[in-house]
């Protein structure tokens, strides 16, 4: 009897603490460079409202937009310290955590969105597993579009690109090795330095998706678009695993499902949006340079050679790349 009482008391205590745990709202603080008012933030705020409703207020997503929490390395550090629980990142920004994420941005790996979608059926789960092993839960992956080279001067050939001052973002190893393979010596600058550097002539050529080119107002300087999509530009939303584990299994399911659905929606919207941005660039006077078949072939060969070198250098796992290529029917 005594032991039964003890068990009942213990069960009561357990039930009570479980109730308290459930009643305690979990706030996931998520930082991003993306500014408030952007399509991405609108979608995220709408998903956050949906999460709050679906979990009866047990899970709240609180966003820190516009880079107010610092750059990606600061955000990752704050996530480790528990000051933030999540962040939205570009691939190169989180390659230090899981190098395989660089595969999305390999030059000319995907010819178009359909190929990227196909490859991602195999790639995404492997990337998610890789981050999970490092203590991060990826809640969403979305394609933002394809980056093209744009320039202040006409760039119809690889030789002209070599003669141009080409921008490369900080910490972009894939970009660096790709440009080096093409014989281009890029100028490494932070994103915020691109516009003033275009004004002063420190750089003449920059790669980006059309939508960002307009949003950052680079189009007032860049007059030519080399119409060969170089690289896929993905975005990731991930949270720190310890914080995610504090959320009940049921609410984790809601989070995954609601955020996942928002990212699937964005994946479709982003490409349509980018096409509209490209049309707007043309309307603003940007000239489209269509590469000759020989030029396009030469660029793709550069891309293939660069990928082989990156693979040989162990920049990412050959198995994950093989899985992505096989999903597209391109495996060797």
């Amino acid at each position: 009897m005594h032991s039964l009482n003890t068990i009942f008391r213990a069960m009561g205590a357990l039930t009570l603490s479980a109730c308290l745990l459930a009643a305690q709202a979990q706030t996931l603080k998520i930082a991003t460079l993306v500014p408030e008012g952007s399509g991405w933030m609108k979608e995220m705020r709408s998903a956050a409202a949906e999460v709050k409703t679906a979990t009866a207020g047990r899970v709240e997503l609180k966003f820190y937009p516009g880079g107010v929490m610092g750059d990606e390395s600061t955000v990752l550090r704050k996530m480790k310290l528990g000051q933030l629980q999540g962040g939205a990142f570009a691939a190169n920004e989180i390659a230090g955590v899981n190098p395989d994420v660089q595969i999305y941005g390999l030059p000319f790996l995907f010819a178009n969105k359909a190929e990227a979608d196909q490859a991602r059926t195999k790639l995404d789960p492997m990337i998610r597993d890789g981050f999970l092993a490092k203590g991060f839960v990826v809640l969403g992956i979305t394609g933002g579009g394809f980056a093209n080279l744009m320039s202040t001067k006409s760039i119809a050939t690889m030789a002209e690109v070599r003669n141009s001052k080409v921008w490369l973002p900080n910490n972009d190893r894939v970009g660096l090795m790709s440009f080096q393979e093409a014989g281009v010596s890029p100028v490494v600058l932070s994103m915020s330095d691109v516009y003033p550097s275009l004004q002063t002539g420190l750089i003449e050529t920059a790669g980006n998706i059309p939508a960002a080119t307009i949003a950052f107002q680079w189009h007032t300087k860049l007059k030519y678009l080399f119409d060969l999509p170089i690289t896929y530009v993905p975005g990731f939303l991930m949270v720190e695993k310890r914080a995610f584990d504090r959320v009940s299994a049921e609410d984790q399911g809601q989070l995954r499902s609601i955020i996942g659905a928002a990212f699937v929606r964005m994946n479709e919207l982003n490409f349509a949006d980018d096409q509209r941005a490209k049309e707007a660039l043309i309307k603003q006077g940007m000239q489209i340079i269509t590469p000759s078949p020989e030029e396009a072939k030469a660029w793709r060969e550069v891309g293939a050679r660069a990928i082989e070198k990156m693979k040989a250098a162990g920049m990412f796992s050959a198995e994950v790349l093989q899985a992505a290529q096989s999903a597209m029917g391109k495996s060797k």
Binding site: L33, P35, E36, G37, G39, Y64, P65, G66, G67, V68, D71, S190, M191, S192, D193, V194, Y195, P196, P210, A211, I214, A215, F216, Q217, H219, T220, D273, R276, A277, E279, A280, L281, K283, Q284, G285
Partner: protein
């Protein structure tokens, strides 16, 4: 206002000489603008203004190159679309009309400024270099109606792509104004410099200087300066203390101020909403 309408209708019916008509219409337009801007009930203006806007359309049809009439109409259509209507198709339609009047006023005022919509950024910059302080009213009319159209179409890349042109226009106005402005140019530049975070090449520090200058120049009487400073800058850099301080100042201030009563009344409404939503935002 009804009396003013009557005056205009009578003038039109009398078929007086063109200059008398123009003068009467300009007079009406100016008084209409003053009446609206000094009104303290947005709802009355919201429901009453459309009839007068149509009247102005009619006056423009008679005097298609009357720069002042075009500018007043651009301003009133712009205010109606941007401040009194909820964002949507109707706001877009009327902001487009405001901008078309602004563009026509530019062309009527200076032949070099015709077809502004089809000029690229470099051409606009070159045109602006030749403008003088006497062009300020025209530049203001064009810049404000153009920005209103961009604002109403913020999800259209064609509109977003025009932002640098408008920004160049306000930067030129700042140079031409020297120390004479009421802070409106600085207000626009504050907003335009708050669009992007620093990491993407935005200039929030510069935005703050513009907003502070706008507060000083408007003698803190234009409460929309406080509101936009809070909404665009303080939220961008996540400064809740500044955000709440500015908005509480709006709520504590009187709405009535010459030429600012309507905008201040709207600013108070917006300040309440922002203070409430700020609790979730910060």
């Amino acid at each position: 206002m009804a009396r003013l309408t009557l005056v205009l209708l009578l003038t039109l019916a009398m078929g007086g000489c063109a200059s008398v008509m123009r003068s009467a219409q300009q007079g009406l337009a100016g008084q209409l603008e003053a009446g609206i801007l000094n009104h303290d009930d947005p709802e009355t203006v919201r429901s009453g203004l459309p009839a007068y806007l149509i009247l102005l359309d009619g006056a423009i049809a008679k005097n298609p190159a009357d720069r002042e009439l075009l500018c007043t109409s651009a301003k009133l259509y712009g205010a109606f679309a941007g401040s009194l209507l909820a964002p949507g198709e109707r706001a877009k339609l009327l902001a487009k009309r405001a901008w078309s009047y602004g563009a026509r006023a530019a062309c009527a005022g200076d032949a070099r400024l015709c077809e502004l919509q089809s000029r690229d950024f470099d051409q606009i910059e070159a045109l602006l270099k030749d403008t003088e302080s006497t062009d300020l009213p025209l530049l203001r009319c064009v810049g404000e109606s153009w920005s209103g159209w961009i604002q109403a179409n913020a999800e259209d890349w064609n509109a977003v792509a025009e932002i640098p042109k408008v920004k160049a226009m306000f930067e030129r106005m700042l140079v031409l104004e020297r120390d004479s402005g009421d802070g409106n140019v600085q207000l626009y530049l504050g907003v335009l410099n708050s669009l992007l975070p620093e990491a993407y090449g935005g200039k929030p520090k510069q935005a703050r200087e513009y907003f502070e200058a706008a507060l000083t120049r408007s003698k803190r009487r234009n409460l929309m300066v406080h509101v936009l400073y809070a909404e665009r800058y303080a939220r961008l850099v996540f400064e809740q203390e500044l955000h709440d301080k500015l908005l509480n100042e709006v709520l504590a201030a009187a709405s009535e101020a010459p030429g600012l009563t309507l905008i201040n009344t709207l600013a108070k409404e917006r300040a309440k909403v922002l203070l409430e939503s700020g609790k979730d935002y910060f």
